[in-house]
């Protein structure tokens, strides 16, 4: 039982990292992206291939995975970020499907539908972790959650965050204020992809295997639900959203009634969350926190006077 709870918190952590990345794209910048699972897949497979075929260590594989995912973020971002909201959503959805299709069919590298097994665990302080070492994994993954939270907080409280907020409010006005909106949008998109890549890498190393069917459209939706449920534009709320969504989907197993609850109920629940939240509480459970940039800047520059 304890083992299972630890497992749940490992997954919550992994999803929270990806969801905070998505929140930067959707919540702070106002771009609807439906391919976060695609970036997760890219990160997971990069790590899997680097560690099994090229026998690289986990930590360097993870960094490379993050950068490869963000590279794809730039690739997909450049053509599509000129598009308006719903077009962008569909284009990203299409991209996610392409990623999955390529992974399924590129047998020589990805082993096709079989997936890649036997990924070694990361070594830390001279020992190699396996999926069994759950307490250690919890610590590692939640350190990454905290780092992600801090990283996004820095972005949002900086001048970049101010520009992202302006772009979300009115892109045309922002561009006529001299802001290179395309660059900021691609920046946000790429950063979100990077974080998904890191999450994917952790996912692969923890499970010690990857399979293409894991990273489907429903996973993108689940991550989106986390960001929406907690409240778009609030990283802490996103973590809360991840806790609720993962707990809700594992609740039947947690209570030992998974054999009588059909798996579809889970997904129906995600659907209901999206519809009901949009109609009754579009700001999410916790909601957006409006920063006061004038105050932040005043604090920041106060130590210049000295």
């Amino acid at each position: 039982m304890l083992n299972f709870i630890l497992l749940i918190f490992i997954y919550i952590g992994i999803y929270a990292i990806a969801a905070m990345g998505l929140n930067l794209i959707v919540g702070y910048t106002g771009l609807l992206s439906l391919c976060q699972a695609g970036f997760l897949a890219i990160g997971a497979y990069t790590t899997a291939v680097l560690m099994t075929t090229f026998h690289m260590g986990f930590w360097e594989s993870m960094i490379i995975s993050g950068f490869i995912a963000s590279l794809f973020g730039i690739l997909i971002g450049i053509p599509t970020l000129r598009l308006k909201g719903d077009y962008l959503a569909i284009a990203t959805l299409g991209f996610g499907e392409i990623v999955r299709n390529v992974i399924l069919n590129w047998d020589s590298v990805t082993k096709g539908p079989m997936g890649i097994n036997g990924i070694p665990g990361p070594s830390i302080f001279g020992t190699t972790l396996s999926s069994m070492d759950k307490p250690a994994w919890i610590v590692i993954i939640w350190i990454f959650v905290a780092a992600t939270y801090y990283f996004i907080r820095r972005i949002i409280r900086s001048r970049v965050g101010r520009a992202l907020e302006a772009i979300r409010e009115d892109e045309i006005a922002a561009s006529s204020m001299g802001i290179n909106t395309a660059k900021y949008k691609i920046g946000a998109f790429t950063t979100g992809a990077f974080l998904a890549g890191i999450a994917g890498s952790l996912f692969a190393a923890f499970n010690q295997s990857v399979a293409p069917l894991t990273f489907d459209f429903m996973m993108s939706i689940m991550i989106l639900c986390m960001a929406v449920l907690g409240g778009l534009g609030n990283s802490f709320a996103t973590i809360v959203g991840a806790v609720i969504i993962v707990l809700a989907s594992e609740l039947p197993r947690l209570m030992g009634i998974s054999h009588i609850i059909p798996p579809q109920l889970n997904q129906i629940l995600f659907g209901l969350i999206l519809v009901l939240m949009m109609i009754y509480r579009p700001q999410g459970i916790i909601g957006r926190i409006k920063l006061n940039y004038a105050k932040i800047v005043k604090e920041e520059i106060s130590d210049l006077e000295k």
């Binding site: 959707v26 106002g30 609807l32 439906l34 053509p79 599509t80 000129r82 598009l83 308006k84 909201g85 719903d86 077009y87 959503a89 569909i90 284009a91 959805l93 299409g94 991209f95 499907e97 392409i98 299709n101 390529v102 399924l104 069919n105 045309i172 429903m218 939706i221 989106l224 929406v228 059909p262 579809q264 109920l265 997904q267 129906i268 995600f270 659907g271 209901l272 969350i273 999206l274 519809v275 939240m277 949009m278 109609i279 579009p282």
Partner: protein, 310 residues
Amino acid sequence: MNLFNIPSNELLQHLINGLTLGAIYSLIALGYTMVYGILKFINFAHGEILMAGTYAGYYFYYFLYDPSKGAAYTIGIFIAALVIAMIASAILGVVIEKVAYKPLRKAPRLAPLLSAIGVSIILANLAALFFGTKSKKFEYPFNNSSMDIGGSSITPNQLMILAVGLIMMAGLKLFVDRTRLGKAMRATSQNQPVAALMGINVNLIISLTFAIGSALAAVAGVLIALEYKVYPTMGTMAGLKAFIAAVVGGIGNISGAMLGGIILGLLETFGVVILGIPQGLKDTIAFSVLILILLLRPSGILMKNIREKV
């Protein structure tokens, strides 16, 4: 002419396959385009509305199916099943609009889109829950042994798909261009507040748009079911492809949706035979087309370039 070294009889075969696929895409694309024309919003659940109607038609058909009663009877209940599918989808489309989209008409654009994604997930999973995830086959109501035309084999079913597609599209075009309601629909899509001021019942027109678009999708669904199968996620990929078709033709443009569907159907068919794209990557063609068209001509091939009013 010998295009890419393919024998002419095979070429004709692929052409017919492509047109059949394209006709189905066109029928579905019409629903996306009509709704987008009026509400400026992508009805993400369109594919699932198609699926629900198809199931309604399927169960109706097998409720009355009795091979001992002869061919005329079978064709009769098939036509009735088609009508039932259309009615079921139309009702579902209108109800979904009222429940999940209408409260969000004034909300930021992200909201109705997310709501629509939610609805589509709910419908697909409800179907899996009630009808099972195993795919079901629609028996042909008629003899479907292929005919030989110019060395290529064509099934009566393919001919029917082309015929039904053509009739539905011509009917829609006539309705939109010639009737009072069609005119009201076009007026609403051009300028909703002004249309309302002119005494047009905008809510009624929106419902009508959803009803017609959904009914056309149901027709496509039944045609898909005859050629392929019925299953809970049958609408998802078909819907996405049809959406791409609508974008290719110029979203919001009815003729564009028809043309876009045909183009996409042909591209997919010939992409596999001419470019040798593996069957497993067939879906990639459509998405690549989408990204290309959005890059090169985001307003679609039939639309004039219109920028947001500043």
